[in-house]
Symmetry: C2
Subunit: 259 residues, 2 copies
DNA sequence: CAGTGGTCTAGACCACTCA
DNA sequence: GAGTGGTCTAGACCACTGT
């Protein structure tokens, strides 16, 4: 492995550049182990901290990932889960009998599992209250928190908000919401999803999210704030999806109106 | 400023937790200056590197940002630029006479500028070739690279790919593409955008992107790979949008088909 | 057990900002 | 020029992994 040639200003950058070019050149393939921090330091004639700083730079770029006691490895390209407006298509559900999540898992040959982590009556966060026409100052909504697993790996965390008036005395208060899921129960309350709106941002994960999603450092999250509008154009459900961005992508297909 | 109470295992975590709770409690407002690294180290009885590690953790979470020679500051909440399927609405363009970018800039009272950084005939990257039905092994496409600025701050980098057969001998080879922009010229070649598809991922920026976009550390990018389909369902244009994620959000509104 | 990454110490010099 | 973050050194101990 040739690790000498790179010229540069800072020692840490020189080490990072040298390792990065090995990776992009394919000499270090995904899954390969990097030289240890001590070894890099020795070869470049620096202190271990300096080699460590170089590794940190590469980690931040998402190129490598460290494993305690084992080594630093070139990150594997992960298969992507794809979500988007198809997530709300009733046709797909009727044709396959599968929820969008289970359909995607079947496509990828993974074992799906959904864990309902909490169901309670809460005061909605400001952005949710705004979109749901609910009071941000009293416990006006039902909140359902779910974690979705693929082969026991956490993939997405979803928090669903429904106005309390629509939720009380229904199966929405139970973990099992019955046939058709939450949208089935909401139809019985007179809300049919007619329009969807997804607002998407990317950001670094909070401490807690990083733990729940078992996120390696340097991986951002994709956050989708979904609002369901019914036949009267009234919002009746808001969900916040948090995906780990190295495993999830979104796809939206839309007509472009002419006039 | 009360910085003592937090208990925890690691000194660096304890410092980070203490500062984080000051921020979330509002005692340190956006724009406020944190105590210096040396001061934090003194108060917590640690080495400076340990306080520095705490700052690094907070930077990674996107909570603070360091300015060389000035200090570390609580990050300002930035106004969001919102993009999405409205980006391709012809109606908005006809009603306002503004491109989506200029419209969004006008809404936010910012000065728009578009810089065409290159126009050339190239071999398309694999993902583009796939979506555009173009050969990935010969210079089969025109590539146009643009950087978009708001008040002279780089906001997004856009790379547009068009099959060479559709582009040659047109204004698409020039920086100024004429009335209606590139879609105007492509209509003259028989392609009217009828359907759009946006594929969205989030990731950390590459070295070069971080420089072009003037990205602070710890800020991911949103990448949108857009494909335009014409009246025959044939793809005729693919663009890759790279946005800095702390300044940009996406919004998609879509009908939910019933059957 | 040896080797790895994770964290910490106690210094040092540099580049930048601001009064 | 005083104070700040940026980088580096040369050690140290710990927790985890594999043989």
């Amino acid at each position: 492995m040739n690790l000498d040639p790179v010229e540069g200003q800072l020692p840490s950058r020189r080490i990072a550049d040298a390792v990065r070019s090995l990776i992009t050149a394919g000499e270090l393939a995904p899954g390969d182990k990097l030289p240890s921090e001590r070894e890099l330091a020795r070869r470049f004639g620096t202190a271990r901290n300096t080699a460590r700083e170089a590794i940190r730079l590469l980690t931040e770029e998402g190129l490598v990932t460290a494993q305690h006691g084992r080594g630093v490895f070139v990150r594997e390209k992960q298969r992507m889960f794809r979500w988007g407006n198809e997530r709300y298509s009733r046709r797909t559900y009727r044709e396959t009998g599968l929820t969008p999540f289970r359909l995607e898992m079947a496509r990828q040959n993974k074992n799906p599992r959904v864990e309902v982590t909490s169901i309670d009556q809460v005061t909605p966060p400001f952005d949710v209250a705004e979109r749901l026409n609910a009071s941000p100052e009293e416990p006006s909504v039902l909140r359902r928190c779910n974690t979705y697993y693929a082969d026991e790996e956490p993939i997405q965390v979803v928090t669903t908000y429904i106005r309390w008036a629509d939720a009380e005395d229904t199966l929405l208060l139970q973990p099992k919401t019955g046939p058709g899921g939450i949208y089935g129960r909401l139809e019985e309350r007179g809300h049919t999803m007619t329009t969807g709106q997804d607002e998407i941002i990317a950001r670094m994960a909070s401490h807690q999210e990083a733990q729940t999603l078992d996120l390696p450092p340097g991986v951002p999250v994709l956050e989708v704030l979904h609002t369901s509008l019914d036949q009267d154009g009234e919002p009746f459900e808001v969900s916040r999806f948090v995906h780990r961005a190295d495993r999830a992508g979104l796809v939206y297909t839309f007509p472009v109106e002419d006039r």
